[in-house]
Symmetry: C3
Subunit: 290 residues, 3 copies
């Protein structure tokens, strides 16, 4: 019946100033955003405006119904802030319209957008990568290749993108406290048990599953999707004040000399560079205070 609205006529890739991620429109209704900033998909100062541009496109496009976030980088979905980069611009960004710092604000915008967002997680999603996944409406992980975590507490600082607010509501207090306070790697099976992701699938099945789901959702009525999501938002999203408070706690913890010392120790041993430190981040942050 409605074949015409969901076909592939606009399947050309967009070409923008995006250099660290790509936007591909599989159809006008179904978009893919692919993080492609090898070797680590690390979140540096250039990543922020690019994610922001995508976010604005998602909010303003009249046709898009579903957006899938994935990665083109082997081993990494999207990870944490690049502490080796010049972060002055990022840290001093003015607040956005909600009064939140632009990073938590982007996450809030994603959660509230009248578009369905899906994180397809293969490789490591930690720090901002985990926070972006948590701001998506759904998360599906590779059973063999996904590792989620909030590594921050192990590095001496409070996470900034509101995982305290989101994980508590997603998996309950006990498991949220474990994920946050252990700062430990969470592989696919455990992520499914805890509800960190909707489901973990065999790696070979993940792409097919997510693509079928997104294609299905893209065939539904945009207004109905948006109104149904809006009502789930009322029941499940944290208030902005919790997110603001989490951000402020992050900034305050970063200013502690003990934290700066921990980060320095980590950076001297390979943090933010390809290699063992990032490949085994859970183990790595477990060494700093011993």
């Amino acid at each position: 019946m409605m074949k015409g609205t969901a076909n592939m006529k606009d399947r050309n890739e967009t070409a923008t100033t995006l250099t660290q991620l790509r936007l591909a429109k599989r159809s006008p209704e179904y978009w893919r955003v692919t993080f492609d900033h090898p070797p680590l998909n690390i979140f540096g100062p250039e990543m922020f405006p690019q994610v922001n541009e995508i976010m604005t496109a998602i909010e303003t496009d009249e046709q898009v119904k579903v957006v899938v976030f994935d990665s083109a980088v082997e081993g990494f979905f999207l990870i944490h802030l690049d502490f080796l980069a010049n972060l002055d611009n990022l840290v001093h960004l003015p607040p956005g319209p909600t009064g939140l710092h632009p990073w938590p604000e982007i996450l809030v915008r994603l959660s509230r957008a009248p578009v369905v967002s899906v994180a397809m997680i293969r490789g490591r999603a930690t720090g901002m990568g985990s926070e972006l996944a948590l701001a998506c409406d759904m998360r599906f992980a590779s059973r063999e290749k996904a590792i989620l975590s909030q590594f921050e507490v192990g590095s001496g600082f409070v996470p900034g993108g509101a995982p305290m607010a989101r994980l508590s509501r997603l998996m309950g207090r006990g498991r949220a406290l474990e994920v946050l306070l252990s700062a430990e790697d969470v592989p696919g099976d455990l992520a499914e048990l805890y509800g960190y992701v909707n489901r973990s699938l065999p790696d070979a099945d993940l792409d097919g599953f997510v693509d079928a789901l997104a294609t299905r959702i893209a065939s539904f009525d945009k207004q109905t999707l948006a109104h149904t999501k809006r009502l789930v938002n009322v029941a499940s999203l944290p208030p902005d004040i919790e997110i603001e408070s989490g951000w402020n706690a992050c900034v305050a913890s970063m200013a502690q000399p003990a934290t700066q010392q921990r980060i320095k120790w980590l950076l001297e041993r390979g943090f933010c560079k390809p290699g063992d430190a990032e490949n085994h981040l859970g183990d790595f942050v477990g060494q700093v205070g011993r």
Copy 2:
């Protein structure tokens, strides 16, 4: 000790004007409500007053402690509204005492009743069938034969009986959004993983398990059950305003021409009739917008 209060002396079946469901008192304290409206256990205009009558009996009886809802129809626990019936009476029912439309109000009454309610799900529970199960205090499913879903978004409208409010609190935002926005069939195993049901049991064990649980609860003190449930209600029930907002969104979405077109397409292909459409409802609603 207290044998006298829980014995079988009143074990006679009630005989009322009920034609689409049956009430059987296994004891004064333990009731069974069995949906028996073959071939689909579809929810038509006559079902509503019958469920309402049962609900009033549950609320006003002084002895009943536990009510189990089940089905006598192979393949179907209880499904959605019968779009082939004359729905004028149903749609134009005046609001109940809480100000809610009578359907969400019945669900609210069931959730708040000082009686323990258990859904024993074998076959399909979708639409109002899923909503009724979600309003029960507990849900147990046949691992092989239960299929739960909220198919509505696939048909172009927002669900009306508050699954946005209830699923979000039961299984967390991510899984609730998946169930609602995918409108997909959820079989027993997945329903258990997601917390859609308390547990899924091998089909052969389901009746015995639920009967033993209900018999056990029926042996406990009625006031203690009621007060304990009341405190769980405070911690877990959605506010009425969320339920009202969900109902209003449902009504508004039904009025969209695009939705009417989707429902017409579905009805022309077997929706609300025995056969493939209802037997594979998840697949079926995935075809309408392609």
Copy 3:
């Protein structure tokens, strides 16, 4: 780097007036509290001040970061009130600073303390033992040897230490109602499925796992742990008024003649004594009203 702060120099055991539990400082940052009141680890009038003393130490110590609660008694983590003891002192304790009865108040203090608390559950945790575990930040159970429950409703009274508030938020309404209203034993596997515990581990692995986790957390920054937990508290802890209401409902239910009769029946058949009644408490309370 920070070896000096987490070393074993203070590994001597404390020696206080504690007779039913022990406090061992594995390091200044990592404490173990071991319930050792054979044969049942039952909660009698002397247990309360000892738990209270530990709680005050946890709150006031400047170095402790993580506390693990475990048991030295085969078969029992910590169980319910000792109804055979003189409970006058316990029942008539004046309210604490929050206005709550001292028992729920201790639980609230534990949940809010700027220290990470972990329950390592081997054997039975029921009544106050389950409530203490639920007030901890995390719970890990022996897959073979842990049994959790809230047996109270089966004995005719409402639980007093707020499991209605905590279980509802931890595992969702349906499973919380089942645990509370069935008053049934919950073994390790089911406790994990329901989220009653973070994880159940093979008994042989439990000690090693919990010790490694606690050692890891003890190596992290105390302020960062505390601030991160504080933000999870905002998102996940019940308001005190719910806890107060639960306590009041417990006290009121205890005063019912029918409840006193049930407790008398139980006591005459071995409740609160070593043997079948306590070893199979779930089955046992299922007999009283038959």
